[in-house]
């Protein structure tokens, strides 16, 4: 007889753990997180292009660091994958890095695209974030490379790169939810 309550207790624990795990993203996705609002793909000149809207909501701690001259590296991971029943094959992978920093003298925010080397400046943070969050016409993959009878998908993720923070901040950033800014993967089918 004592086996049953034990097993029940075990199940209860499991259930509680599962609930906690399910509740975790809900708790994490409070007022600060990166959220991918939309993805659109279009075929243009035989090249797949990506439009995306990302809502960058920084935590107060991150904004405070930014205003104090700490540059924040936002990393955008984009993958084109072939859908298979067992393991999706990654065909193309692109990582975009944007360095967001504050220029005290001019009181402007600078967005530095690490891939292209271009730099834009904005007179306020909202403008900078709006610009950052609006991706237009990002070339993904040549349509020739995709077989017509297969299924493909594109997925996107935006996150704050903690490793680019100054070393003293990293240990705290790794364990604090304030710095756990990650949209998670957002998947979109790549179809004509």
């Amino acid at each position: 007889m004592p086996a049953l309550p034990n097993r029940n207790r075990g199940r209860a624990w499991l259930a509680a753990l599962l609930l906690a795990w399910l509740a975790l993203p809900v708790v994490a996705a409070d007022d600060h997180d990166f959220v991918i609002k939309s993805i659109e793909t279009a075929l243009e000149d035989n090249v797949w292009r990506l439009d995306a809207k990302i809502d960058y909501r920084f935590s107060e701690a991150a904004l405070n660091a930014l205003r104090n001259g700490v540059p924040l590296l936002i990393q955008l991971d984009i993958q084109v994958r072939q859908k298979r029943w067992y393991w999706n094959l990654t065909l193309a992978e692109l990582t975009q890095g944007y360095l967001l920093l504050y220029h005290a003298l001019s009181d402007t925010y600078i967005v530095h695209n690490l891939n292209s080397g271009t730099q834009e400046h904005f007179r306020n943070l909202d403008a900078a974030l709006a610009s950052l969050g609006h991706i237009r016409n990002l070339p993904l993959i040549d349509a020739e490379l995709l077989a017509p009878d297969r299924e493909y998908e594109v997925r996107l993720r935006a996150l704050l790169d903690i490793e680019s923070l100054p070393a003293p901040m990293r240990p705290m950033a790794y364990i604090s939810s304030d710095w756990d800014l990650d949209s998670g993967w957002y998947t979109w089918p790549l179809t004509r």
């Binding site: 730099q119 003293p168 901040m169 240990p171």
Partner: protein, 740 residues
């Protein structure tokens, strides 16, 4: 599958530990370096942190395992565990105490040190410098706004085609780096740039566009990538001619190089200071974290090293303890591994040498013991197979050993009495008393050798033992050797008396008949011819001859009867009935002697030959009557069943009121031809003795205290022998028996 010795040596001993320590110290150093944000190590910071945390976990696991092992060993009291525990605790205390002290002081230094970097005056100065730069640039921005407004005015009436040319002209005449004309929607209408490679002019940002559309101007400082600071000015270009709609002019002016340099420097210093000031708390934590990691790792390393060192140190000691235990348990073959050339090594080497010597000595002792045992076994076998009983006594006359024959002869399990003194043996087994008394008496004597014949009476009947005592050398005790010579003596006597009887029969009986016949013939022939006086003499003489010859014949018959008694025909006999029967024969009218019977009705039957027993009784009665000369007196015959020394027997006692037995005859009363009476063959009691002995009985004769003789006969009762031999009885045997 044995690993290469070099590899094994690399992974055991102190080499890997030293390597690990060096690696960990290096990683700690790198980490502390990385905390200063040095470019190369900055990237490795997290990795190093992870490595160190992993090392801590590894150490915790290793130490946990060691502690657990030690705890289990401690509880099982494994050799060396206590010493290891003490050493570990000592090492840990020795290492943790100073490290902790250093840690807490360092912590304080870090906090104070980092705080001392920051100075309010420096911060204010930097703020002021920034403000000054902004003010200086602001002045210039105002100038440039005016210039740009002037340019806008001159462009007011210029239409689209001309605009590019005019812009070029205006740019070359002013300090502007780039001039762009936008429509209100933000489309570029015309542009002029100082640098040919710059393909696209700077876009008009939406805020600026909105401001200008409202008729306002917009001036801002623009930090351009790799080009330094610029001043961007956007002004409205109101509608002039009808073909010219309102437009926007944007001008980009470079900041003079020197000012640019200064402003960039101020910006950089300010930014850096702000960042560092912001990072003050994380930096402190980071340093504390690094320091704590160093502390933790140092302590863990110290603990682990303590375990390692303690184990290394204790290993030979616990080996010694194990070895000592083994030696104590009798294992002298144990050899301990040599730990080194130090004092412990010397100790272990000495221990090995010692056990080797002990083992050799032990083997020697064992061999000699085996030899002694073999000899002992040999002697034991010889003794065991000896028909003589052999008993050894120690110096205190306690029973030491006895061979099988001894137990057999004495009908005792002597091994059970080993270590007991002889006196105890006598107490337990009263029938041995005569033997033990004689032995003790003999043992008091200083003579080395003593020999005596001792008679015992027990369940098995009468037993004659021939005992010899020999003293062992060095006063180690005595050896008693005894033989049961009962049968031998009996046989000797039988043979001797048989010979006597045969001679008597032959030498005496043969001439008797002619003598008797001759006497009768003399009488027949001459009696009636003689004168009455002579006839009377002849009559009496011949009568005497015939009578004496008859007597002699009877005597000879008695002898031959004694010598050749037929084999016993044993049956159960009621002795009481037999006594009554015999007594009837003596109930004559002229009997002056009274015969009284005191018979025990509960007396059990004895196993005996009826004829012999009747003869025995007749002889005894006759003997008593003759002793009293058939005169006044009383003969008392009694029986009783007695148990003495656990030996059950039937006792027959014949007492008379005669003169008793002369003292000098007591010892040989039962020998043939021993008599105190004028008449009698001297065989009566000899025959009695013989019959008693044939029945395994015992015979005693003594004088009564009130006068007269007493003869006691004890006959064993069948089945009595099976009674336990060991039960002690308090009944004392009859004391003053004279002979047996």
């Amino acid at each position: 599958m044995a690993a290469h010795p070099l590899i094994r040596r690399l992974f055991t001993g102190s080499a890997p530990i030293v390597a690990l320590f060096v690696l960990l110290l290096a990683s700690l150093w790198l980490m502390s370096d990385a905390t200063h944000n040095s470019a190369v190590f900055g990237q490795l910071y997290t990795l190093l942190l992870g490595v160190n945390l992993l090392a801590i976990v590894l150490f915790v696991v290793l130490i946990g395992r060691s502690v657990w092992t030690l705890f289990r060993q401690y509880r099982r009291q494994v050799a060396g565990s206590r010493l290891t525990a003490r050493l570990v605790v000592m090492f840990v205390i020795l290492s943790v105490t100073p490290v902790s002290a250093v840690y807490f002081f360092s912590l304080d230094f870090i906090k104070r040190g980092i705080d001392s970097w920051f100075d309010v005056r420096v911060e204010n100065a930097l703020n002021d410098a920034l403000e000054l730069s902004q003010a200086a640039l602001g002045l210039r921005m105002n100038d440039l706004l005016r210039d740009t407004q002037d340019m806008a005015r001159s462009l007011r009436d210029v239409d689209g085609e001309m605009a590019a040319l005019i812009l070029n002209d205006l740019r070359s005449r002013s300090e502007a780096y780039e001039l762009t004309l936008f429509s209100l929607k933000g489309d570029i209408l015309a542009a002029s740039s100082g640098e040919a490679e710059r393909l696209l002019p700077m876009r008009l940002d939406s805020l600026s566009q909105m401001l200008v559309r409202q008729g306002k101007t917009d001036v801002e400082l623009v930090p351009l990538h790799e080009a330094g600071l610029f001043i961007r000015v956007a002004v409205p270009l109101p509608a002039g001619a009808p073909e010219n709609p309102p437009r926007i002019l944007q001008a980009l002016y470079p900041v003079p190089e020197r000012i640019n340099e200064l402003a960039t420097s101020v910006q950089s210093a300010f930014g850096r200071y702000r960042e560092v000031a912001y990072l003050r708390v994380p930096l402190k934590y980071s340093f504390i974290l690094t320091l704590s990691l160093v502390l933790l790792l140092s302590i863990l390393m110290a603990i682990w090293a303590a375990f390692f060192a303690a184990r290394r140190l204790v290993a030979p000691i616990s080996a010694l303890v194990e070895g000592t235990r083994a030696v104590a348990a009798g294992d002298y073959e144990k050899r301990l591994p040599l730990p080194g050339r130090d004092e412990l090594g010397f100790l272990v080497r000495s221990f090995n040498e010692m056990t080797h010597r002990i083992a050799m000595a032990r083997n020697e002792a064992r061999a000699s013991q085996q030899r002694a045992e073999a000899q002992h076994a040999y002697l034991e076998t010889v003794l065991a197979n000896l028909s003589s009983g052999v008993i050894t006594l120690d110096a205190e006359h306690r029973l030491r050993t006895a061979n099988r024959a001894a137990g057999h002869i004495l009908n005792l399990d002597l091994d059970r009495h080993a270590g007991e003194p002889l006196a105890t043996l006598a107490e337990r087994h009263g029938r041995l008393q005569p033997l033990i008394e004689s032995l003790e008496e003999a043992l008091q004597e200083p003579f080395a050798d003593w020999q005596e014949e001792i008679t015992l009476f027990g369940a098995g009947g009468r037993q004659v033992l021939m005992c010899r005592i020999t003293a062992l050398p060095d006063g180690a005790g005595h050896v008693i050797v005894f033989d049961d010579i009962t049968a031998l003596i009996q046989a000797q006597r039988d043979a001797a008396w048989g010979e006597v009887a045969r001679r008597l029969a032959h030498e005496i009986k043969n001439p008797l008949t002619p003598i008797q016949l001759s006497a009768e013939r003399l009488r027949r022939k001459y009696l009636h011819k003689m004168a009455p006086g002579d006839a009377d003499v002849l009559d009496r003489a011949t009568h005497t001859i015939v009578q004496q010859v008859e007597t002699l014949k009877g005597m000879v018959k008695a002898f031959s009867d004694y010598a050749r008694m037929p084999a016993l025909k044993l049956e159960e006999v009621d002795l009481n009935a037999l006594i009554r029967e015999v007594r009837e024969l003596y109930r004559g009218g002229d009997m002056r002697t009274r015969i009284r019977l005191h018979l025990d009705d509960a007396a059990p039957p004895v196993e005996a030959d009826v004829g012999r027993l009747r003869q025995l009784l007749t002889n005894l009665l006759k003997n008593a009557l003759e002793a009293m000369d058939y005169g006044e007196g009383e003969i008392r015959i009694s029986t009783r069943c007695a148990e003495e020394h656990a030996c059950r027997y039937l006792e027959l006692k014949v007492e008379d009121t005669g003169p008793g037995i002369p003292e000098e005859m007591l010892s040989q009363l039962f020998e043939p031809y021993v008599t105190s009476k004028p008449r009698g063959s001297g065989l009566g009691l000899a025959i009695v003795k013989k019959i008693v002995e044939e029945h395994g009985g015992m015979l005693l004769a003594r004088n009564r205290s009130g006068g007269g003789a007493c003869i006691v006969i004890r006959l064993p009762v069948p089945g009595a022998a099976s009674l336990s031999d060991d039960e002690p009885t308090n009944e004392k045997p009859d004391d003053d028996h004279a002979a047996a």
